[in-house]
Amino acid sequence: MTKVAAMVGTDAIAEAMRQINPDVVPAYPITPQTSIVETYAQMVADKLVDTEMINVESEHSALSAAIGAAAAGSRVMTATSSQGLALMWEMLYIASGLRLPIVMTNVNRALSAPVNIHCDHSDSMGARDAGWIQLYSEDAQEAYDNIIQAVRIAEHPDVLLPVMVLMDGFIISHSLGRVELLEDQPVKNFVGTIQPPYSLLDTKNPPSFGAFDGLHGYYFEVKRAQAQGMLNASAVIKKVGTEFAGISGRSYDFFETYRLEDAEYAIIALGSAAGTARTAVDELREQGERVGLLKLRMFRPFPAQELVDALSHIKAAAVLDRSDTLAGSIGGPVFVELRSAFYEAEKKPRLYNFIYGLGGRELDINMMKQTVETIQTGMSDGVVQSSVAYLGVRE
């Protein structure tokens, strides 16, 4: 039995955390993540959970404490945004390098400067090579579902990597949406109990974590093993996404397609923009345009081959990026990686990159349609000069 509720994204995350009941939650407040920490602190105060909550003095310490707690064999969750994630940067790599299955929500927010509290993906995209699995959410429902699945994915013995669940700041985190909440017991059964391979609290075989690699050590082999964990994650994410349907009726994959099978043109988006894109697709279809959508859920690991297979029949695609690599003319991270994935492919669409929504700049249905119009025109008369464009910027 599920309960349907009107909830903001941060409450949906806190509710999932209550049901998961992690052993330790070290956290530090930052807009727009703060409401998660506040709601969870109240749950701790009301004894709705058994969690030891540590109100640390910075995000660097939040993730450091999470690392300590996970190395001690406990189940750990935390949450952050933007500057907080940036401050954690050093520890992101240590969490994944020590193979600790920490689950963290990052409520996407633009990185300074200039200081801006609104949504873009510059924070999490900046951490894309930190060895964390990244799952993006279109709405509060997906954020809730992703968090529950993240526990299973992170702790799987073939994976043992931290997972970051992404949710667009304010657009999802602070907007009321329809969320189907699961009963507590199915969630608890689904996540099970953590089975850490090593623990600092092991009395028989006290381990050493984070030893120095020496001068001719095993760093390379450790990183290779970590890369294997990320490779293994794909199959686990697929399996967990299918199993999740058993308790919720909602199954999850690397990405979701919408009216893409017979489409000539595609929009590729992640996060809340996918909802806007879906409406644009419907409206364009009504006008007789053969347009479809691919919503990317899993950015790490990057499902390169699956994306190529799903998009090879497309003439041209608008790839939406809510962050820029600021690397010159190569475009945003989703574009760069998708284009790279197609390099070996025989059949490939022409790819156009639209960088949108930086610092929370509005993205509406007309802008979304404009991207499709631009790529259609580009394909018919070749007037499109650049394959990377900024959408909605004041030039």
């Binding site: 070290p26 300590g68 001690a72 600092l200 974590f209 030893a211």
Partner: protein, 310 residues
């Protein structure tokens, strides 16, 4: 509680021989003195800040730690152990752990006074039951002797060199022991490796309190201080006799001198035997030693007042 060396030597060494610290290093002496004071029936988890100790005692695939050990990063040993202690509390409440565990951090002065200062303060303020031990050799020795917030004025280091326009470090060190005490935690003390009985006694008290404890232990480094390696214990003793490193404790807010100084020595003698101060004896640096002496005297007098000795 009587401390008998004959009993201590029968205990298992929790930091095994064969670690790669330099011969004559003060740090492992401090570590062993502290760990010999740990309750014998408790399990220990050690969190090490990046530094000589961490990189020389756990070199994959070896570890000299007979305890559990974690090295995570430089500035976060306090935050890391906070998470471990919280996990212990959570798992103990759930009945998943029966054993009594104790949690200890070892950080150098760089990892404690400077880069780890914020995380240390946060840990002390939150009241975790953790013993933080600073093995203080008054500079960044792991990277080859750079000045830290613990380096005394006048000291030569590679980043406070002497030259035509410089007579070594120009600033006095910060008083971290007093800053730790200002967190109003149950136990804070300053110790030195030559006085093993005093250090073990302090560590016993630190382990006994139900809350955070902080020990600042002078651990001379012959590589950075430039003295013969067999003189570490002597240097430690000279520092306390010159009152540049007084031995005291702050127990529940009560300040107490633990090393009575019968015959306070002039700083000059202590400086003279160390290469890091040799430039101070050149004519162009005249006056620096007097300034250093003045600072030491002021600090010492203030401490005597705080400890009710004056």
């Amino acid at each position: 509680m009587a401390i008998k060396l004959s009993e201590i030597v029968k205990q298992k060494e929790l930091l095994a021989g064969g670690h790669r610290m330099c011969a004559g290093c003060g740090a492992p002496i401090a570590v062993r003195q502290v760990l010999h004071a740990a309750p014998q029936d408790a399990q220990i988890v050690v969190s090490g800040a990046t530094g000589c100790l961490a990189v020389s005692t756990a070199i994959y695939p070896y570890s000299a730690w007979q305890t559990s050990f974690i090295h995570s990063a430089f500035e976060n040993a306090s935050a890391t152990i906070s998470g471990i202690e919280a996990a212990y509390i959570a798992l103990k409440k759930q009945g998943k752990i029966g054993k009594d565990f104790r949690f200890v951090v070892f950080g150098g002065d760089g990892g404690t006074y400077d880069i780890g200062f914020q995380a240390l303060s946060g840990m002390l303020e939150r009241g975790h039951r953790v013993l933080y031990v600073c093995y203080n050799n008054e500079a960044y020795m792991n990277t080859g002797t750079q000045r830290s917030g613990a380096t005394p004025m006048g000291t030569w280091t590679t980043t406070s060199p002497y030259g035509k326009g410089s007579s070594g470090k120009t600033q006095n060190r910060k008083d971290l022991t007093a800053i730790a005490a200002a967190h109003n935690i149950p136990y804070v003390a300053q110790a030195a490796v030559h006085h093993w009985r005093d250090t073990v006694a302090k560590a016993q008290k630190a382990f006994a309190v139900d809350g955070p404890a902080f020990l600042n232990i002078l651990a001379p480094c012959h590589r950075g201080w430039r003295y013969p390696m067999e003189k570490t214990i002597e240097l430690s003793k000279m520092a306390t006799e010159a009152c540049i490193w007084p031995l005291y404790e702050v127990e529940n807010g009560e300040w107490r001198l633990t090393g009575k100084v019968q015959n306070k020595q002039e700083l000059r003698g202590y400086l003279k035997v160390q290469g890091r101060f040799s430039h101070l004896f050149k004519p162009e640096n005249e006056g620096v030693i007097e300034q250093m002496q003045e600072f030491v005297d002021q600090q010492w007098e203030a401490l005597l007042v705080r400890c009710g000795e004056k």
